[in-house]
Symmetry: C2
Subunit: 207 residues, 2 copies
DNA sequence: GTCTATAGTTCGATAGAC
DNA sequence: GTCTATCGAACTATAGAC
């Protein structure tokens, strides 16, 4: 559960104490949402997990939904940066997709708590926040779909339905957050490597 | 949303009226749970969706959780029968896994509303009910893992990690329930066929 | 078997002392 | 900035009339 939810903060800004408290609340909310879901979590649950009174929550966040939104925003931005960074590692579609899948999948295992909340609590966001998150999601999906279609057009991949195959690749990574166990047999990196192989097989026809 | 949640009932049993009401309540609960989640759904939501008063719900089901359990049980049994039936179609692992994936995936698309509830609301079940559902799940997972390992041992598949590959195959089907849209470009059967192909590619190494 | 009415609890969020 | 105390609403489930 050691998943950092804080943004990097310059030291000695004077608001360091407040940032720590906000971070502790985000961590508490993340663990609560992951365990019982957004609607199954009360503000008292979050306050207890953070070692504070229910009233203290509202000094730092206006509503319970605001906590979910900040978590969703942080998680989606992390994923976007991981995918962008991996895609920039090469100009070859096959090497790009391998890097993306390895890191995307490993992230969903390593940060399975946040990944679960990010992937499955979106309907609990208010319409404004949901749209902001959906925009980031569409960017991530488009980036992966682009790699598949570019590789298919270049003859690097042999796929009959690039758009559906891109969805399948996303599904593999996303669902790792559901079944991954910290005390399981495989590390996040091992899962990422194996899934990278499986993905390249999906993208290349047998002879 | 035309997803039948009722068990087949012999006509003219005398309790036909009661069965219809129970079925309407299950349908209402299913749609509500799928839209807002179990904890986000009130018994008034379910009653409204079924065209009844909140009190009428409790004549047919003891608690809100009982409704979720009956839905989960029905959904999991449907999946188990689909997987068992598909596996019985052949003795060749490659044909077995193709049939299983085609039908498993198509089911998750066609019954995406139930699939979503079945796959993601398990933590809301009470411990007794959760264990009963988990037993069915383990059977389904074991059945698919068995096909993969049998095929690997027979040299029919070439996989470095059969257990993880079996999880990947399950993930592909499960996550279809998240992204499938009834007004989308592909039918459940089309998705099933494509996913059957992708799965066979994953199970066979390139030369 | 279904209704209206409501009991008893818990919820999200706020007031005001310190 | 954190606390105790609490408001008003919404919740699950039940009581009792019909």
């Amino acid at each position: 559960m050691n998943q950092d939810t804080s943004e990097s903060t310059p030291a000695g800004r004077g608001n360091a104490r407040g940032e720590v408290t906000r971070s502790r609340l985000l961590d508490a909310a993340l663990r609560s949402f992951a365990t019982r879901g957004f609607h199954g979590t009360s503000t008292r649950d979050i306050a207890d997990a953070a070692g504070m009174s229910p009233a203290a929550v509202y000094i730092h966040y206006r509503t319970k939904e605001e906590l979910l939104f900040q978590l969703s925003l942080s998680g989606h931005r992390q994923v976007r940066e991981i995918v962008d960074g991996a895609a920039a590692e090469s100009t070859r579609p096959d090497e790009q997709i391998r890097q993306v899948v390895e890191r995307y999948t490993a992230w969903h295992a390593r940060h399975h708590t946040m990944a679960h909340v990010v992937q499955h609590e979106m309907p609990a966001l208010n319409p404004t926040h949901a749209e902001e998150i959906a925009t980031i999601r569409r960017g991530i999906e488009a980036r992966i779909r682009k790699i598949v279609t570019t590789g298919a057009d270049a003859g690097c991949f042999e796929v009959s339905n690039p758009a559906m195959t891109a969805l399948a690749i996303l599904s593999l990574g996303i669902d790792v957050a559901r079944w991954y166990r910290e005390d399981g047999a495989w590390s996040p990196d091992e899962i990422g490597n194996e899934y990278g192989e499986l993905t390249l097989r999906m993208l290349t026809s047998r002879r």
